[in-house]
Symmetry: C2
């Protein structure tokens, strides 16, 4: 392995790149301070340039990354598929892109991650868990904005009809051009200007680039269609008539929002409270790539914490305030600096993180991620810059994990203000609000509008309902105006192009004074949203290891809390006398609820250790000839260190329970129990 460069030398190489970002970041900041219009071409150009410089810096950082931080992805994926952690779905039928099945190992890891998620968030924070339908009628996703805006641009091969995601295709082709040896400096500069703009391009801008560079299908070299938007939701039809259009949900969050009233009532009307949901969501990606990172069906775990927007303090913030977390703030990103390790309490005090509740969740996410096996050095929280944040959000931090695909967003944590509830209120007509007591009772003007259906019915028959509804829904000003006009005589109103003559007897309006004790408000929502598949992928990369003494021996250092099996039971050989002990120990472990594997196959003990290391089994119980003598005992071997201790059979359940839940560490046990040294240690047997 080549000696990696020292951090100091790398920093020297990076410095000019950092400076270039900072200069440009300052320029953008200045323009913002001068309240420049965000559609101003100069401003747009400045943002593009900033992105370009940030990308150049990131590329350099990746290039000089120490070798031991990079992983052999092919080798890892080989292991993941060979031992069936996961694999492509339906591959006996040729497979479907973007769909994966978890095998026994992946499935057990997923179940353990979700169990810990439930314990860490739902149980410990007394959240309200719900389990809502995946099938979702159109109106709900119209309200959320997904029907109109959850789309990517795609281009089609005009002959074969094959589809490509337009931004990915343009980016790939521009980058290929950029790498051409004979590229002239003008062209180079032009492409470098274009690249960072792709993210914000609409169809016509993309079409211009495709035409200008005469881009073709990368597969057939045929011409491409113009870019068209493609909605990423899977559509279906609910019920037999074909009239109820529905989608598979693209996120679990909407199920919580539409249940807000029931949940608030369940919580006896009190705020704040959090609801949570674990479940599958679906996105019909145009051309899925990057393995488990971008898939069409995936498990999410989402929390919606509802809070009074005037008070976002959190009573338990102090319990996470001392955490030291890598934060990559918008201002770091603007100035070309790296992420910085910051004490969470300081980040909230200095207002770098908008409020205590958001800060509390960042801390809890950090605790969760590191507990399930994410390497804290490869975990950072990146703040959204104002230009990438949704207009309604007031702050947003993504938990990103460093993988061989780059930094990947695994958890989003956004303060979405009152956007979602407001939208559903608008579309459903239901009042999705909470109440807070007023400091003192208040007198308010209340409008009472009354439409008399019995009177209206005499004149208008079947139109009665339409007219009554129209009148009752008049705004305060319109109702007052109509009332005043009716005082003068009959008045014609127009509903959907039809005229109706309204009389004074049909309609009254009064404005009265009432005393109120409470006021209504729409709660804010803070939303931590976890992509379980991505977290698992990061866990695998962060824990994949190759034994220095043998390139073929690969394994995972996953924490015992998460591993599919907590231990393996191995008789030293096929000796008949060992068999009852295998049975006895297995029964003890089942009784204690400890998942385990039995390996009585004929391989050498070393080969069998190696097979169990591959699937991350953290401890091995070996039954040998000493086991047969009183006090009946076994050896317990640890996966990462190869170290073994000797313990009595009747202690084994308690010890493994402690190790699995983290109440005792291997290091502690090694001080309490005698180390076991094999009589005939060969290299293979370790």
């Amino acid at each position: 392995m080549a000696t990696p460069m020292s951090d100091d030398n790398v920093e020297k190489i990076l410095e000019p790149f950092r400076t270039a970002v900072k200069v440009q970041g300052d320029r953008v900041k200045e323009m913002k301070d001068n309240n420049v219009n965000k559609d101003d071409p100069d401003f747009k150009q400045a943002i593009s340039e900033l992105k370009l410089r940030k990308k150049a810096l990131e590329d350099q950082i990746t290039k000089w990354m120490p070798k031991e931080e990079s992983i052999d992805r092919l080798k890892m994926e080989d292991l993941l598929k060979r031992r069936f952690f996961y694999d492509q779905s339906f591959s006996i039928y040729g497979g479907v892109n973007g769909l994966y099945d978890y095998g026994p190992m992946g499935c057990a890891i997923k179940a353990n991650v979700l169990a810990e998620w439930r314990r860490h968030f739902i149980l410990e924070e007394q959240m309200l868990e719900v389990d809502c339908s995946m099938l979702t009628p159109e109106i709900v996703l119209k309200a959320s904005g997904h029907v109109d805006r959850f789309a990517d641009f795609m281009v089609k091969d005009v002959k074969t009809g094959e589809c490509f995601r337009a931004d990915h295709l343009i980016e790939a082709q521009l980058e290929r051009l950029l790498k051409a040896k004979d590229i002239n400096p003008e062209k180079k500069a032009e492409i470098e200007r274009l690249l960072p703009q792709i993210d914000n391009m609409k169809g016509p801008d993309m079409q211009k680039v495709i035409e200008q560079y005469k881009m073709k299908s990368p597969v057939t070299n045929n011409d491409l269609s113009e870019p068209v938007t493609f909605n990423l939701m899977f559509a279906t039809s609910i019920g037999p008539t074909g009239q109820v259009k529905g989608f598979l949900r693209p996120e679990t969050a909407q199920g919580i929002f539409v249940n807000f009233k029931r949940l608030l009532e369940f919580n006896q009307g009190r705020l704040p409270f959090a609801a949570a949901q674990i479940g599958n969501s679906f996105r019909n990606e145009i051309s899925p790539r990057s393995g488990l990172i971008r898939v069409r069906e995936f498990t999410m775990a989402e929390i919606e914490h509802f809070v009074d927007p005037t008070d976002k303090s959190h009573p338990k913030f102090e319990t996470v305030a001392d955490l030291q977390i890598q934060l990559y703030s918008a201002s770091n990103q603007m100035s070309g600096e790296s992420a910085q390790v910051v004490r969470l309490g300081d980040a909230v005090n200095s207002k770098l993180i908008n409020n205590e509740t958001l800060g509390y969740f960042i801390g809890r996410i950090y605790q969760f991620m590191t507990k399930v096996g994410v390497d804290k050095r490869k975990l950072r929280f990146r703040q959204h810059m104002s230009n990438e944040m949704a207009h309604y959000a007031c702050d947003c931090w993504d938990a990103e994990c460093k993988t061989s695909y780059g930094w990947v967003e695994c958890v989003g944590c956004a303060d979405r203000s009152c956007y979602d509830l407001t939208q559903h209120m608008k579309f459903s007509g239901e009042r999705l609000v909470a109440e807070r007591p007023l400091p003192a009772p208040k007198k308010v003007q209340v409008n009472e509008v009354q439409a008399y259906a019995n009177v209206i019915g005499k004149s208008f028959g079947k139109d009665t309902a339409t007219i009554t509804k129209h009148l009752q829904q008049l705004s305060h000003d319109d109702a007052r105006a109509l009332h005043d006009k009716l005082e003068q005589g009959d008045e014609k109103i127009n509903i959907d192009g039809k005229e109706f003559a309204i009389t004074r007897k049909m309609f009254t309006f009064r404005s009265i004074e009432k005393t109120v004790q409470v006021e209504e408000f729409v709660p804010s929502v803070i939303e931590p949203s976890f992509g379980i598949g991505r977290i698992m992928y990061a866990m695998w990369e962060h824990n994949f290891r190759i034994r220095p003494e043998d390139e073929q021996r690969t394994y995972f250092t996953l924490p015992p809390l998460i591993t599919p099996y907590k231990c393996v039971i191995l008789p030293l050989s096929g000796n008949e006398e060992f068999k009852p002990y295998v049975k006895q120990i297995s029964a003890i472990l089942i009784q204690a609820g400890i998942s385990h594997k039995i390996d009585t196959s004929s391989g050498t003990i070393g080969r069998r250790y190696s097979r169990s290391d591959e699937i991350a089994v953290p401890f091995a119980i070996t039954i040998d000839f000493d086991t047969l003598k009183q006090p009946y005992s076994v050896t317990l071997r640890e996966r990462d260190t190869f170290k073994q201790i000797r313990v009595k059979i009747d202690e084994i359940a308690t010890i493994l329970q402690g190790l699995s839940t983290g109440t005792v560490t291997w290091g502690e046990l090694c001080t309490q129990y005698p180390e076991f040294v094999e009589q005939q240690t060969t290299k293979e047997q370790q």
Copy 2:
């Protein structure tokens, strides 16, 4: 409440109905013994009559069922909705039939049921759990038979387009006619003959009935369309081209079958093994009814136990052989008898249950169901009669729970022989087989067919692949015939209407002898398939109670293993001195992973007990003035008995852990701890 009739009197009433069934059952049996053709009109008529008599018997049994066995469903549903166990999805937008959301209580119960399912089946039996895609390409469901056969007949209101399930509509209208007072005896007999036939009717038969009885839409009285088949799967399109047709899976089983090879390999090639999957499935019911019993999206838990068809013994069968289980055999059903309590071992010995493995699963299902709270008196295993069983199945028993909707199938347990793997083998071309060692090595004839693409290519250019493939796939006989003809000279073959002249150099065939040690076979599958929503509904009905002293106090007697909260912490009053104890006990319980609720609201202690009984909280910890004195102690109250004991705070975690996992019972605790009698017991405070 009216005094229920004694069992003896009821049995007297039922006797003639039982006899009528038996007489007819014997007639059917006799016809079968005489190998009558099953399409013979007389035989069909005999089966119909048998069904009719069975239904009359069931109706009588329901009619005379003791009152305490019936439940007030409206009252229970009110509680389930009011405390948000579940409710209709998207109801702020008017709701969608057949879609339900589980609220915090339903969701926690579901999570607990699934956790116990994992422990009971997957952990204890070392099953291989998988987690497969719900989106499924068409070919997979073509192979399984769902594309062609998973359909119901529906009729449409010709004016409004409203759809009805044809069999339900016909049945409802015939039953209404039957209840008319002025019905003449001929008509009555005719309808009674028709009713039991509906299940087996195809479209034209249904159309005849609809015409004959001039049936109309029950909503508008408009005419109805002819019955058409409606496939119950939700269709969607995968990827952007619209060319990959897909469905939402209608069951989880197929995901296991298509992964059979990987799973067998994971199990190192050994049989038997079981794979399991928990996940959602989807059925686009035409007109869902019966609340949670018939829904469009539901969670299943399925096991596929793969076994050598020549050996279906089970090594652990003895562990369940002594269970006494209510079995409702096909022969009981034919002879008008009730279900009978049978020792499981006897049922397998007498071949009533086809084999040990099937019997073992019936036993394990029984243990699971009763552990999660299903009443064993309301649980029976009903054997499919030969006319309702799929043609490939060799035995099938449904675990049915008695509810206010009648006996509802909650778990199916079928021996599906090798049907599923064979189908996927046929459609995918992959060999889905296992190997067993031969008793002795065997010599076999092996055909070696060789098509020489390089020679073929010289003559036929672009058709080479087609021809090569055709030749290689020739059957043994065709290959030998072609070989023989080529010995005589060139030979023309026909592929898709095109002729090709084949020469001796293009193709060889030989039949050679090989010695083999193993033989391949397609494993049989035994499939226990659980409908989680239905099981939960049965659990709720079986555990719903009304306090005799107060009709308004309703509660659930669910076992602590399953309840959302294991306990509630209640300070006797709002006294400031109690607050630190609430915090301290809550922290102890979180540490021990015990889910709990805190109720510091201002209601009386009695009202608060009642609120926690409603959501099935089995134990209440009350902090009172004695708590403040050393040794710090609290009262622990049990939900069903109202009994209270006094325990020390530092014992509380261990006690609740024991109660929740079932390692200690309330009865045992009552003998170990002093009973606590309140000083000022009022009725409300109990």
